[in-house]
Amino acid sequence: MASKVMSMQEAIASHVHDGDMVAIEGFTACICFAAGHEIIRQGRRDLVLCRMTPDLIYDQMIAAGCARKLIFSYLGNPGVGSLHAIRRAVEKGIPAPLEIEEYSHFGMVSRYTAGAHRLPFYPLHSYTGSDLPRVNPKIRFVESPYDGEPIAVVPPLNPDVVIIHAQRADREGNTHLWGLLGVQKEAAFAARRVIVVVEELVEEQVIRSDPNRTIIPSLIVDAVVKEPFGAHPSYVQGYYDRDNQFYLQWDELSRDETSTQAWLEEWIIAVKDRAEYVQKLDASAWKRLSPGEAFAEPVNYGRYA
């Protein structure tokens, strides 16, 4: 089969268009900042951004004016505080008004699951008594055809593009992911197009040696990008730690619109690509973020020839 490997610039140019519904998923771990930054550099507009936790990456993309709408379930800087740029957009319409569509975590997970399974809705025990259904008419209740009891349902979510960051994949896009798995598998299977971004490209044999770890098969992958440190300042299990200093720094600088725009200019617009961003970071950062080693015991799959 043909290699799907391309540069981040090519992957975004070919697969992310103005007005698309885009999900860069990854729950605290493996958030592909490299892809988000390239979307900002290429000046995409009117995107509908989906993410359970918008995190700093959507704070940056919304500050850069890429999005018209946000679909989410937790709007915070994890472990730090607020997402100030998104709050400015929601509370004051700066730099532009932002439409929001809000769920709980299980609601978002269920939306991706319905999307991946091509189901018309997904039922879950949530939302009863909460005000969330009053402000989001897509959260509804149906009567169970079996016991007649009401049950909350959410509609499928099928993004145009889903971008997943992982430890390794082969050239076709068979992808190994470990650590927090978040909602990546469901999101990728729900998507119309999938971009996989990895720390390392490996031979197909490496993937086949441990098939339980293959979260995403090449069957649903459209582009593979090798982008070491592409998830910084978030983390990749076993590769680098979260750069919490940056999460704290963003909390300060993003409180002000001018310093936010200055940061976007210096670290995204004026930077050619992720390789240049990595070079621009203090070299000691990578030492500071190195996690050391903790290997799993090997398993024997057996040879049944």
Partner: protein, 289 residues
Amino acid sequence: MNEERSSQTNGTRSGERNASDHHETYKMTHYTRNEMMIVTASRALAGTRTVFVGVGLPNIACNLARRTVAPYLELIYESGVYGARPARLPLSIGDPTLVSDALSVCSMQDLFGLYLQGGRVQVAFLGGAQIDRFGNLNTTIIAGAAGSLEEDYARPKVRLPGSGGACEIAIQAQKVFIIMRLSKRGFVDRLDFLTGPGHLHGGDARDSLGLPGMGPQLVVTDKCVFVFDQESKEMLISSLHPGVELSEVQQEVGWQVQTAGELKQTAAPTDEEIHLLREELDPQGIHIG
């Protein structure tokens, strides 16, 4: 060995000692308000097997409980971790230290579906910007002057983070324990938005709507502990922390709050608990200070 240790600790610090003992401990050990909250929350986990954890004070409370009153406690994080053994203080609920050494790491569909919705979570810790007398929680918005819920939501004075997993956790966990600082801004007569259902309008509201969990059972604050009336499901002051007067609590609560029978004093942290917190669980004093 663990069992032995557990029964010993239960016997010596489960809060059943008499008032003079409390007073003695209080004099012996200087402790912070956060330490008092953490210790009180950890003791409430005595004998618990599974707990849904947040970051900050609940995380330390659960780790302290595992070292003292609940040696078989398994920590569950909404990020997909069951049986975490964090080697450092997690910076967020998705910290990689929660993955390394855990019993199981699964997708969030499995975590919310199999563990939470499957009824495997005995206790969940929650907090919020606002709580009302029935333990309903708001983590969505602080309202401006707009008026209707829909208008307030569309143009909030302060946009808070929202539900995360709190809505379904509040509905599904067998019991909910709440940790919040006591303040008039937080303990309100009327929520600006109901994100996570507590006892709703009280009485049998949860049962009649078919909510699977029992809802809020305990509210630990920096001044006192609240429980909920068995019938009305209204929040009642159960114990005051050492040195706190009843009036200090009443003036920080936005409704006429009652006491649960004879008011007790919350047992102060023991030297051993303080030692574990300061030397092993939070040596940099990030959360206990």
